[in-house]
Symmetry: C2
Subunit: 198 residues, 2 copies
Amino acid sequence: MPDAPKEIETLIEMMARLPGLGPRSARRAVLHLIKKRGLLMQPLAQAMQAVAETARECLNCGNISTADICPICESEKRRNSEICVVEDVADLWAMERSGVFKGRYHVLGGTLSALDAVGPEDLRIPKLIDRVEAETVTEVILALNATIDGQTTAHYIADQLEARVRVTSLAQGVPVGGELDYLDDGTITAALKARKSL
Amino acid sequence: MPDAPKEIETLIEMMARLPGLGPRSARRAVLHLIKKRGLLMQPLAQAMQAVAETARECLNCGNISTADICPICESEKRRNSEICVVEDVADLWAMERSGVFKGRYHVLGGTLSALDAVGPEDLRIPKLIDRVEAETVTEVILALNATIDGQTTAHYIADQLEARVRVTSLAQGVPVGGELDYLDDGTITAALKARKSL
């Protein structure tokens, strides 16, 4: 497009590659940035540069951190006995926001997928098995997404680890505040099967 | 939130201030960037820095450019006789994408608004009047949004300029490809009032 200067078009194209932004919203965002170039754009560019230079994956668990070993792996306040396995760092952050889990994490970096040719070696599954053998772990909690790939991955990991350690997974059921009328059949079926006496 | 390192939280907060991104999508975007920090994040940070340093408003028309006078104002191929007045640079780009207008532009930088205390001096209206007086303009085309503030601004500008130059505005009616069933009453009314014989 010849309507905006080349540098600005390049920036818009890059912004449009972010998840949640398309070409149109990227253009809006860039215009907004240019209007606030002193107050927002310069600091944002610098913050982005700083994170690009310092962020890396924790060598132990795969969490994103600015050090080789992340604060959760370093912390002495967290239990070594439990490892919570998640697909992605965003899931780890979601777990941490709930504040209920006090063990360690392991970030797989995706799920097994026959279609996309993702095997155990492409994820952090071998490292997980190493950790279970080396550390004093008594329970591995699988907090994978309730998708087909997520559940396939959960079954694979359970198969690998069941002989060595207790393997559990998050309960499926009605979300807190959820209305039955808006739930899919699968959730209702799962919640009914896993019903508890009061 | 103590779940992500401070630098990353700062970046997420800044990204969340962009239009179209909230806290959740900003977090997703930043995670995506961190995963592709070599391929996408570093170049994006640099592109943003470059634009922050070079982008500025054209001193003549208010278009965004990397020079003091924008390429449209500089171009010898465009007619001096017509000035198209738009609210925002995004509107100028939209007009340019259509490729139909061959005159010059004038970007107001917003609309008059009693509620937000935006008066003519807060916009580029005095500069527009100067241009109409100094340049060989025969027609001012108001391409303002069909909102109340946009139309108020159009009437104000028309009042100021009508004695000196022909003032027109974009036609209102059914959008090309639009279905009547999905149009609001105001558009149908405007299209009916402005009906043409075939």
